[in-house]
């Protein structure tokens, strides 16, 4: 993923251990709250970002997942989260844990589509957008 973060964006890079998914959820909720999303939508962000990070952990080749979170382009009233592959971990990919999503893939996609206002998947990057942010 090669996105230059804007001044208001938050960038987070996590290794492929499943316990990092929770950390990513906490950061996503904090940024969503800062951007003025109401609490019920903060919950949507929390769940959807967790799903996208879990998904990325088994689709990106190096198991390092990068998130860029922040307002969309000026004036759009959007909150945008990009989740995709980051840089390779020190020591190589073979040391990274592999998350087994099992049969959860279809459920994960249903949650992404049901929770975010707009979902696009470009290569190994998932872009989640929430509109009408106050």
């Amino acid at each position: 993923m090669s996105v230059l973060p804007g001044a208001d964006d938050v960038v987070l890079r996590v290794g492929g251990s499943p316990e990092n998914v929770r950390t990513a959820r906490l950061v996503a909720a904090a940024v969503a709250r800062r951007e003025g999303l109401p609490e019920d939508r903060v919950d949507e962000v929390r769940i959807a970002v967790g799903e996208a990070v879990t998904w990325a952990m088994h689709t990106v080749t190096d198991h390092v997942v990068e998130l860029v979170l922040g307002p969309g382009e000026e004036g759009t009233g959007e909150f945008v989260v990009r989740v995709g592959g980051g840089l390779s971990p020190v020591g190589g990919a073979e040391e990274a844990a592999v998350v087994d999503p099992g049969a959860a893939d279809g459920l994960a996609l249903a949650l992404l589509r049901g929770l975010a206002d707009h979902v696009t998947i470009e290569g190994d990057t998932t872009v989640l957008t929430w509109s009408d942010v106050p």
Binding site: P18, E19, V21, R22, R25, D43, R46, I47, G50, E51, T54, M57, V99, P101, G102, A103, A104, D105, L107, A108, A110, L111, G114, L115
Partner: protein, 115 residues
Amino acid sequence: MDLTLATRPEGDRTVVEVGGEIDVYTAPQLRSALNDAVAAGARHLVVDMSGTEFLDSTGLGVLVGGLKRVRTMDGDLELVCASEKILKVFRITGLTKVFTIHPSIEDALAGSGPA
């Protein structure tokens, strides 16, 4: 918050109380608890999610797996959940049609129950 699990018998049912966050990190513990209950002979499981604060697709997958497993043994797996936040996850994924979801443990245990 991590996951807390407690299994207890209630008549011919087995109640598995799940507290905290069920996600890709903690779901294997829930899978083990359900497997252990079934291995100990439980066929009619009630998963009490009254204390559950978060549920993701991996957790849903474990619950569906548990349901499928006990159904092959003429058993069932019912849920207790009153949290709107978590019920929404079941609704979005269409799983409200798959699971019987009770608003309270009293309601779950008072139901007609297994024959």
